[in-house]
Symmetry: C2
Subunit: 582 residues, 2 copies
């Protein structure tokens, strides 16, 4: 094994080209085996093996600085920077994160998991180098899919003026997570078709020097080009064409499916992330049905259709009533605002973690214009996710903007009723926090008129203690109610708030008569969230309020049960807290 | 006067070219006179007069749809769409807003004041047209300065694939608010220098058809080109070169100064927005001094240097220790994060309203990486501003993100101490809410060690009622204290919290001993803000809490005094509220 001799970048320096080719094959084997066991980003890492070897062969990390984009293609880099143990033995498979992580290695500059950031960050790294009077190469790696994100484009525009060394490696595998969408991609195709010789060149038009590498999986060719640009005195784009999923036939042929896989996908062809029984399937069925009835219904997403179960069949069936804007959440928000303002019925599906990328457009383009678009926020809630993909900040982000109504359904029937109301209404922007837990069904159609805003549902009237269980935490609220009954003999009141964005003053005022304590449960960060608004409401009264939710912190792959303990999100801990107050 | 015959777009249709030229001169005169009285955007509006006439001559608004960017260049459009009265008589000068406003006219599609939104919005307008099976031209107007904003670039990439009619008029006056920065501008210059014939063309590289108009202030030429692209069946960029400030010599020669002016600027040359006595000057002096001592200190802003008093002299003196990234707040945040992470000392100045454009970069690029950059947030506070430029949302936006320390100084000495601490520390990201009120000085140097986080200052110990006066509202807190003393005979406790992002548990717990009521005062929206955290803290206790700040709403040019009444932000109203509780 060549890999036996290679632990750190310096170990590469004496290898022959043939040895590096063998090394690439060995690394690929490790990645395939590991990712198939743990799940994770498969195809992006397979495509970038040779480029990573060549980068570490030519440059001297960490003196030379590598900045990865999304960093879901950093597995080969981790293998070559002292962390191969995390890919060799199964017991170490979870030792390292799936993204770059400075706490793991000095070769990782940033903790990154969102897209389109590498060029901006690398520009700052290069400028710091210049201010400090140091010498080093700064290398930003960015995939073609990430190029359409506003931050990347802002970064490219500024990087071009840096006036000193910066090497931007554009890893062009002709794919985003799904297909690429956008005018830039026609230019990338033109460049591929002309071996980079076309006069009309996106990168040159922004002011970059430019080098094209046809075979980005050829380590020899890559080394030759990297040697050429090493110590360059101005910004240059090295456009390398790679094969996403390279070396794993099934991934090469199913790039979207193998972008990120569940454990065991290679062993069982049937493993798919779509869940026919969950809220994703419900949503898809609703949209397809509604789109047939109304030609102005349009589903929109920003480059992650798989997250929402928007399969190829779904996308094809919708045809012109579907837009994937590419990685471009800001544009997506403005786009659906304008669609709604002009009388169409747009439904924008977005992950909680990625809705963060478009605060100002939510505020200015959407809410200030009071455009009746529907935004479906997926995966909102406390989880054991990586620190880069936490989904606990969407409530403070969205719910403190005027005009928008943010809804938290607790079951299938409520969700469908809210969705249908939202799509048909023309009053205001509506966001719905699609439940991230398993589908709950009451079996009873929800006939609530959601145009009566901020009306909470009094599910069961009790006394002394009232429990407001928001969205996915309504189930926990029910459990707390039972626990209070069995442990403290309290028949508590159970409330389903439904509206994250408003206060049901009448209902809350009524509670003052025969309640001493109100508790709020929300599946997200407490700071700026729902519970604090209830605390503010009761501030001038003698009602005691306990808010439950996540602490304001970035957690990193902490098991969910541990977080629930930490945040007192169990019926036992909550009941114990309440017992101290009454 | 030609203008006597012209009230609506249809009135243009029978004018001769000569008459339109006269009309342009008349409109220009109105705009110059009006803006000199009211203040506002001067140069952008003067540059676009002919293009606006030509657009309304050729197209049929509101069937054809005009989407303006920033919309600070919509005055000629307002004059031609039934609103010339607002520009003729001085008593009507404030009748219409300075931005497009659908409530004023069906010719205005969106309420817009932030930049780089027009292409995205127009793409949605065009798509809605297509879904509805209608026919109409959709015309987006965007300035060269706005092109670098991420949302514009995301929008262009998607617009290029629309597959149907869309006309993007790029109004290139070779200026942003200040000079343009970024690689794109070299390409625009190349296109201007080659009459649009250069092979390397930014717009073509994204997939647009392209037409160049050398003299964008020639109404005849513009009409010819607009006639040509009218009813086009695919997206096209019409790149027009205009003169910013056209027709007003002093504005043509001082484009930055005349981008937006104060009332009376034409009558008194000395009128400048910089205030030698205020926080802007303090900041500039601090930065210049610090930068001399330390070559890694770097000031960064995104295209609005004038707001911070970053004059040409200031910028020149800093030289390489200054970066204007152009309109690119997302990039700016990532850039300063990387600078700080690499050991430099970046200071990023940004307006409260525009920091909204970079939530995710604050969260992911900056705070998740705990980069010790300094962010100065200007103009934060309740004001009588346009609904598009409210500065009340920065506290919920910033303070609910983990790791960042958001500080609220109440006077000059505190501000300088906080700024100096922030620039020198290497622990975490720090934002400082630069006071937006007049400079207050205690005359006593602040020697607080701000590395002891979340320590509030107990300014004066009293009993029964404690007043937490945050930042600019500390003055109001003092007044409330006096009022409580004189009206209710209560010697209240006065607290300067300083830290927006944290709770001083010890101090707040101590208040429980001899206080019944805590009131919080913050110069921003209550929802998700500082006061709610205090309400949450005291939720389980018997302390009564009253939160004062702005209601969650978009206000539009409402006089400040009226807002203060509405929100009970006067010593009398607050004292009356408190009297009901004790």
């Amino acid at each position: 094994m060549i890999l036996d001799k290679v632990s750190m970048p310096c170990d590469l320096k004496n290898l022959s080209i043939d040895e590096m080719k063998k090394l690439a094959a060995e690394m690929r084997e490790l990645i395939i085996k590991k990712v198939n066991v743990t799940g994770g980003h498969m195809a992006p890492n397979l495509g970038i093996v040779e480029a990573t070897i060549a980068m570490h062969y030519v440059f001297n990390s960490p003196v030379d600085k590598f900045v990865f984009d999304v960093s879901h293609q950093c597995y080969p880099h981790k293998i070559l920077t002292g962390r191969k143990d995390g890919f060799i033995k199964e017991e170490n498979y979870l030792k390292y994160t799936g993204y770059t992580a400075p706490q793991e290695s000095e070769h990782d500059l940033f903790t990154i998991g969102h897209t389109s950031t590498s060029v901006s960050l690398a520009t700052g790294v290069a400028k710091a180098r210049d201010l400090k009077g140091e010498k080093a190469n700064v290398i930003a790696l960015i995939g073609d899919g990430s190029l359409t994100g506003g931050e990347a484009l802002e970064g490219l525009n500024n990087a071009a003026c840096l006036g000193s060394n910066m090497i931007i490696v554009v890893n062009d595998n002709d794919m985003s997570i799904a297909e690429n969408y956008g005018g830039i991609y026609d230019n990338l195709k033109l460049l591929r078709d002309t071996d980079g010789k076309a006069d009309c060149n996106f990168f040159k038009s922004i002011g970059f020097d430019y080098i094209f590498v046809k075979d980005g999986n050829n380590v020899e060719k890559l080394i030759e080009v990297f040697e050429k640009v090493k110590d360059i005195n101005h910004p240059v784009v090295v456009h390398i064409c790679t094969l996403k999923g390279c070396g794993l036939k099934v991934a090469e042929e199913n790039k979207e499916k193998f972008h990120w896989i569940l454990p065991g996908t290679l062993d069982d062809e049937k493993i798919e992330r779509t869940n026919d029984e969950g809220y994703e399937a419900l949503t898809c069925n609703y949209i397809l049905e509604k789109a047939k009835q109304d030609p102005t219904v349009i589903a929109v997403n920003a480059a992650t259709p798989g997250v929402f179960g928007f399969s190829k069949e779904f996308r094809n069936e919708l045809g012109k009533q579907y837009t994937d804007v590419g990685i471009a959440e800001e544009h997506a928000t403005a786009y659906v605002s304008a669609l709604a303002k002009q009388g169409a019925k747009p439904i924008f599906a977005v992950m909680s973690s990625f809705v963060q990328r478009t605060y100002d457009q939510l505020s200015q383009d959407l809410c200030l214009n009071n455009s009746p678009a529907t935004i479906l926020v997926y995966w909102g809630g406390i989880s054991g996710a990586d620190c880069t993909h936490l989904c606990v900040f969407d409530i403070p982000l969205i719910s403190n903007i005027p005009n928008i109504v943010y809804l938290a359904p607790t079951c299938k029937e409520e969700y469908l009723a809210m969705l249908d109301w939202s799509v048909n209404q023309t009053i205001c922007p509506v966001a719905i926090r699609v439940p991230s837990n398993e589908l709950v069904s009451t079996g009873v159609e929800d006939k609530t008129d959601y145009s009566i805003l901020n009306k909470y549902e009094l599910v069961e009237k009790g006394e002394k203690v009232a429990i407001l269980g928001l969205g996915t935490f309504f189930g926990l609220a029910k459990k707390v109610k039972e626990e209070l009954s069995s442990k403290l003999g309290i028949k508590a009141t159970l409330i389903n708030p439904k509206f994250i964005t408003g206060i049901d003053k009448e209902l809350l005022d009524n509670l003052k008569k025969d309640h001493d304590v109100v508790i709020t449960l929300e599946d997200g960060v407490l700071d700026g969230g729902f519970g604090e608004k209830i605390a503010r409401f009761y501030g001038p009264s003698s009602m005691k309020v306990l808010n439950y939710g996540a602490k304001k912190e970035f957690t990193d792959r902490v098991p969910l049960e541990e977080l629930y303990e930490r945040y007192h999100l169990t019926k036992e801990l909550i009941t114990a807290d309440i017992s101290k107050l009454i």
